[in-house]
């Protein structure tokens, strides 16, 4: 009895609950899947993720990924949730559209620059200098699998139902422009 009473003092208190359990108003256990990634000093992070995805769905997603990738998963979910709350129509697809547009512009610029360089090098080809080969395919990226959002960007080719392959990124940590 005394032992039980003594041990009762070691049970997790509400002050040590993670942000998720605080919001969900439940006890935060030692095996809480959210606790490592939603610290109590970042309540807004979980609030946003919960609002967009729901705690249950986030939990299922985390359970499906290896433990060493869960932090990256949480951060990307937080990013998506933030984007969706800021832009309820396009979410982070808006950012993708802008980047795609930029990519097309730069590919065009690259093609022009290379064509100019090739033109400059043609007169030199007859001399000792080697001609510069223009590889139009380098840097060209196909985004045929992007969804068709008519108001977003004409470079979106096909509907979301035809999305087939997304290459996973391994170096999430660098994120130069997002965080």
């Amino acid at each position: 009895m005394r032992m039980k009473q003594a041990m009762k003092g070691h049970e997790p208190r509400s002050s040590s609950s993670c942000a998720a359990c605080k919001l969900l108003k439940r006890k935060c256990t030692s095996t809480c899947i959210f606790a490592p990634y939603f610290r109590s000093d970042e309540p807004k992070k979980f609030a946003k993720v919960h609002k967009v995805f729901g705690a249950s769905n986030v939990s299922k997603i985390l359970v499906e990924v290896p433990e060493e990738q869960r932090e990256d998963t949480v951060n990307s979910l937080a990013y998506e949730a933030e984007a969706r709350l800021r832009d309820p129509v396009y979410g982070c697809i808006g950012a993708i559209a802008l980047l795609q547009r930029k990519m097309v512009e730069l590919q065009h610029d690259l093609a022009i620059a290379r064509a100019r360089l090739a033109r400059y090098s043609v007169p030199v080809a007859s001399t000792s200098s080697p001609s510069v080969l223009v590889d139009e395919n380098v840097g060209m990226v196909s985004f045929d699998d992007m969804p068709c959002c008519s108001a977003v960007n004409e470079s979106f080719g096909q509907s979301s139902s035809q999305l087939t392959q997304v290459q996973p990124m391994n170096d999430f940590g660098q994120f130069p422009y997002i965080f």
């Binding site: 967009v52 995805f53 729901g54 249950s56 769905n57 299922k60 997603i61 499906e64 990924v65 998963t73 990307s76 979910l77 990013y79 998506e80 933030e82 984007a83 969706r84 800021r86 309820p88 129509v89 396009y90 979410g91 982070c92 697809i93 808006g94 993708i96 802008l98 980047l99 795609q100 990519m103 730069l106 590919q107 610029d109 690259l110 620059a113 100019r116 360089l117 033109r119 400059y120 007169p123 030199v124 380098v138 840097g139 990226v141 969804p147 959002c149 008519s150 977003v152 509907s159 979301s160 139902s161 999305l163 997304v166 290459q167 996973p168 999430f172 994120f175 422009y177 997002i178 965080f179």
Partner: protein, 150 residues
Amino acid sequence: MSSFGRCAACKYLRRKCPQDCILAPYFPSSNPQRFACVHKIFGASNVTKMLQQVPEHLRAEAAECISYEAIARVQDPVYGCVGIITQLQQQIVQIHSEIMKTKGEMVAHHSAHPQHHTSPQQQGDPSQFISIHQQEQNNFQSDKHLSGNF
């Protein structure tokens, strides 16, 4: 919609599809996988709330984007469509670097062989290439905030 059968959402949720089902216009029964992904990632209740918050004329776009995000997350549970953003950013950096390199070669070539540029358009001060460099760098820098204002 209900006169033609249930929409994909109501079929998935095993419920009646009412006349005013908010999901029906965007999740036709012909594409059950799409709603299955959306339900898995966001949940029917959240998607309904998201669509209700958006003006009706924008709901089709919103549903399309939500579906795309859900499918991307199902395919890549760790990064979802954030992985696509990172990929695009890296490719943009690479292409920009190629442009700078190519224009650097042009400047070098122009300086080495000014006599080869016979047309009036091709002649001129090599510093015009540098100003193009700077302009593009400025454009590129201004785009860096695209995804970073959170």
